[in-house]
């Protein structure tokens, strides 16, 4: 029997330093970019407060563009602003950053190879009470299918802030996905964000848990519960879904021989399918998927929704037990 104190020692690298929203991490990163990189410009479609872009707007009004409720135009303007050397960051909800403007992103940004950073808040079910019209669960799939698009889904405030700064230094289109609720903030403040490089959070031998976004903290909690049951988990934070860090995943699977993927996204088109593709090609391995099951969301509190749709630590534990039994 491991006591709670022992667990905290075991997990001490990943202590929640206080719940914060990932969107505020974006806002803080953008604020720093405003000071450090004069080519960074920001565009928003009538959601400045929700995207936490106020500081950038106040500090650099000449580099901030309120586009109004016109997301298609925003994507086109952003594409055009790269001509002349600007690095545009667009901000709106994930739904309006992807599905609503897919063709604009496809032609004017991705196919045209434009250096636009599409920054998307309120992704997934944790947007909460607004319901399914605003809770996109298909955006990772939409964006990862676009040739040349980098897809990033950060897990907490610190990582979102670091990612926001990192993508300004990368030349090419990026989709940066984050969310609305306050969640555990456990990534070290000084951790360097490396696009396409997974973060190994914990070592274990029995199961690999590959998680992204809000599910990363849930994966750490699940690993604690599993540990109590004598199952040790490799926990990998896949913040970059494309390009996927295949070698880190394969190295872990070579040890554990099974994997659980966890994401706040539809099972179709998400991280799980990307991992399955890598495994099918390189090392066919039992896999269980923690994801929504080809469904729309609904109104509710974030935690109610994550519980109802099976996107929490308990769901990851159950999936881990299932996958271990399949080895």
């Amino acid at each position: 029997m491991i006591t709670k104190i022992q667990l905290e020692i075991h997990m001490k690298k990943y202590i929640d330093t206080g719940k914060k929203d990932t969107r505020s991490g974006f806002g803080a990163g953008l604020t720093e970019l405003g000071k450090s990189n004069e080519n960074v410009v920001a565009l928003c479609a009538d959601l400045i407060g929700s995207l936490k872009m106020n500081d950038f707007q106040n500090n650099h009004p000449e580099r901030f563009y309120q586009v109004g409720i016109a997301e298609a135009n925003m994507m086109g303007i952003a594409a055009g602003m790269t001509i002349g050397g600007k690095i545009p960051f667009t901000g709106t909800f994930a739904n309006f950053s992807t599905g609503r403007v897919y063709d604009q992103i496809r032609q004017s940004i991705a196919y045209s190879g434009k250096n636009v950073k599409i920054c998307a808040s309120h992704a997934g079910l944790t947007l909460g009470e607004d319901g399914a019209t605003h809770q996109i669960l298909e955006d990772i799939g939409l964006m990862k299918m676009l040739p040349g698009m980098t897809v990033i889904n950060t897990c907490d405030y610190n990582q979102t802030k670091a990612a926001t700064k990192a993508i300004a230094d990368y030349k090419g289109p990026v989709y940066l996905r984050f969310g609305r609720p306050k969640v555990a903030n456990f990534t070290p403040e000084d951790q360097v964000f490396e696009i396409g490089k997974a973060v190994q959070l914990q070592e274990g031998n029995d199961v690999t848990i590959v998680a992204t976004g809000h599910l990363v903290w849930e994966a750490l909690e699940a690993a604690e519960i599993l540990n109590e049951q004598g199952i040790t988990a490799d926990v990998i934070n896949i913040h970059t879904i494309k390009p996927l860090d295949e070698s880190t995943i394969l190295k872990s699977i070579a040890k554990t021989n099974c994997v659980v993927t966890a994401e706040e996204h539809n099972i179709l088109g998400g991280l799980g399918e990307s991992v399955a593709r890598v495994l099918a090609k390189n090392n066919p391995t039992p896999q269980e998927f923690v994801a929504t099951q080809d469904t729309f969301g609904e109104s509710g509190t974030p935690s109610q929704l994550m519980e109802k749709y099976g996107l929490n630590a308990r769901a990851i534990v159950d999936a881990s037990l299932r996958v271990v039994s399949r080895k």
Binding site: E62, N73, G80, K86, Q104, Q107
Partner: protein
């Protein structure tokens, strides 16, 4: 003073280029291309202040964005004959591995192209973005864009048109190829555009009509007026009244040649009406 004779010769040669490109691959869009030959020749030869070496960022020079990307044959011909790439490359139009894709793209690295177009309604937004970059860079040059009239049925245009006026994008000249035709027929039959001048004016744009959009003098005069109206707090719209298929008598005044290539006999007849001036590619 512009050498109108030379420009007219170039227009005729561009027509030949358009016809030969689409004939060779039995695909492409000759109608709208022919209708805009005079405009693009005037724009690239006389109106725009361009640098000889193509740089994507286009700092310190006027920029052009083609929104109605399907008229790529005229765009490619004018770009080649303005020195962006060898005219011989027009031979590769729409062929496998070409830089001259069916619709213009930056993807294959063709000099002169700054954004992909083809899926309609996106050019004005991109042009606004480029115009905003120019303002941030204290670059006083102008951004031009051309869009089809039928293309204005796409909603994104009206987001962009509202935005440009609301944000004083006054280093932008949007030209509408006002030929009143689209694939399925006359715009009045497909989806009436109504009074375009009144619409742009209601959005607080400066509007200029070029009544004969296939006449070089009219284009040069009209675009000078348009340019004079920049820098005054308002975006500028040019309604360029053109004839689809202009310069080939059996292609004119109809939408039939919007996206259809001539056969061998039709090509011969069309070329006969436009004898070689500067030399075929």
């Amino acid at each position: 003073m512009p050498d109108i004779n030379h420009l007219n010769n170039l227009v005729v040669q561009v027509r030949r280029d358009i016809l030969r490109q689409v004939h060779k691959v039995n695909s492409g869009h000759p109608g709208g291309s022919l209708g805009c030959a005079e405009f693009l020749v005037a724009l690239y030869q006389e109106i725009m202040d361009r640098k000889s070496n193509f740089q994507m960022d286009g700092i310190g020079e006027d920029l052009f964005f083609l929104s109605n990307g399907h008229i790529s044959p005229v765009f490619y011909s004018v770009l080649a004959r303005s020195g962006y790439f060898p005219v011989e490359e027009l031979n590769t139009f729409r062929l496998l591995n070409t830089r001259l894709q069916g619709h213009p793209t930056t993807h294959e690295g063709l000099p002169g192209i700054r954004i992909a177009s083809g899926s309609l309604g996106q050019g004005i937004s991109a042009a606004i973005g480029a115009a905003q970059s120019k303002k941030l860079n204290h670059d006083t040059k102008i951004v031009y864009t051309l869009c089809g009239d039928g293309e204005l049925q796409e909603g994104q245009n009206w987001e962009a048109i509202m935005y440009a006026a609301g944000n004083d994008i006054d280093n932008l000249i949007v030209t509408v190829d006002y030929n009143k035709q689209q694939i399925d027929g006359a715009t009045d039959e497909v989806l009436p555009l109504g009074n375009l001048r009144a619409k742009f004016e209601a959005f607080d744009w400066e509007v200029i009509d070029i009544k004969n959009g296939n006449d070089l003098d009219s284009i040069l005069n009209g675009m000078k007026i348009a340019k004079d109206k920049t820098g005054n707090g308002k975006p500028v719209c040019v309604l360029l009244h053109t004839i689809m298929g202009n310069g080939v008598n059996f292609m004119m005044h109809t939408n039939a040649w919007h996206g259809k290539a001539p056969n061998d006999e039709q090509l011969e007849e069309a070329l006969k009406q436009n004898p070689v001036t500067l030399g075929d590619y």
